[in-house]
């Protein structure tokens, strides 16, 4: 076993990567096996939820059962989207979507699929199958939140890891430092060439 060197990738970037693709945060900090295990499990859980309850378990706030945007009549007679007029109330009517949203773009694709299925006339599943599907997808999102927080925490807190992962992190850190040094040298060169000449002819 080796001590994991502190990664030079900022923790917020690691957290954002984990949100974009479950497990990617771990992969960025060099914990490949951990990233693959977490990522595959979380994505499989989310897909299992959609497989069990149908894509319409993604119940999108601001849209009705036919996939149409809900609107309200304003005092001036115009219609406005409910999501714009009362966003908090709309989200609180479908709170599971908050947890599902933690899956990142995976959930946004599923959201698009859910609205497309609703528009095409596919009904939501009923009773326990809908509940189980919703539970799977929401739990997957919350597990992803745990994983991305952990990955961001590990970025700045060294600990013991597998030898091959440690070698990879060291190599990547050296590459990053090399690239930074090259960039600094190029910048210094450019600045040097732009320095005004003082001893030239008038």
């Amino acid at each position: 076993m080796s001590r994991r060197p502190v990664s030079n990738i900022p923790a917020p970037l690691v957290a954002l990567s984990g949100w974009l693709l479950p497990g990617l945060g771990y992969l960025l900090i060099g914990e490949r096996k951990r990233g693959l295990i977490a990522g595959i499990t979380i994505i499989a859980t989310f897909l299992a939820g959609i497989l069990i309850g149908g894509v319409r378990v993604i119940d999108v706030p601001g849209f009705d059962n036919n996939g149409q945007m809900k609107t309200v009549v304003m005092p001036d007679g115009d219609r406005a989207a409910t999501l714009r007029v009362a966003p908090l109330q709309e989200v609180m009517n479908k709170p599971w979507y908050i947890a599902q949203l933690l899956m990142g773009p995976t959930n946004l694709i599923a959201t698009w699929g859910s609205l497309a299925a609703a528009t095409a006339g596919h009904k939501q599943s009923t009773a326990r199958i809908f509940d189980i599907g919703t539970l799977y997808t929401a739990v997957a999102g919350m597990l992803n939140l745990l994983a991305l927080i952990d990955a961001a925490h590990r970025t700045t807190h060294p600990g013991e890891i597998e030898d091959d992962d440690a070698e990879m992190i060291e190599k990547r850190n050296q590459q990053n430092e090399g690239a930074l040094a090259d960039a600094a040298a190029v910048t210094a060169g450019v600045n040097g060439s732009r320095e005004p000449s003082t001893g030239g002819p008038a």
Binding site: K33, I42, L47, G54, V55, D150, I161
Partner: protein, 80 residues
């Protein structure tokens, strides 16, 4: 049979209405795996630890179900 013919994966729900309780088992396993992925210091520890905690979750759920069933028997059936 007709619902199987109209089945579209990921769009139509799976016809598992009579087996919904069994669907909790994979969810327990998934929660255990991710939890232990976060908690375990070494990756090689994850499989055994995740299997152990999955078993504990399932046994705990069975114990809670048995307790509720017993409470129902005492409060409703036996005192009726």
């Amino acid at each position: 049979m007709s619902h199987l013919l109209a089945y579209t994966p990921l769009v139509t729900p799976l016809p598992l209405w009579n087996y919904w309780a069994w669907l909790l088992l994979p969810l327990c396993a998934a929660v255990s795996i991710v939890y232990k992925t976060i908690k375990c210091r070494f990756v090689r520890e994850i499989p055994l630890q995740a299997a152990t905690i999955t078993l504990w979750i399932i046994l705990s759920m069975i114990a809670v179900a048995a307790g509720i069933w017993l409470l129902y028997q005492i409060m409703v059936v036996w005192t009726a």
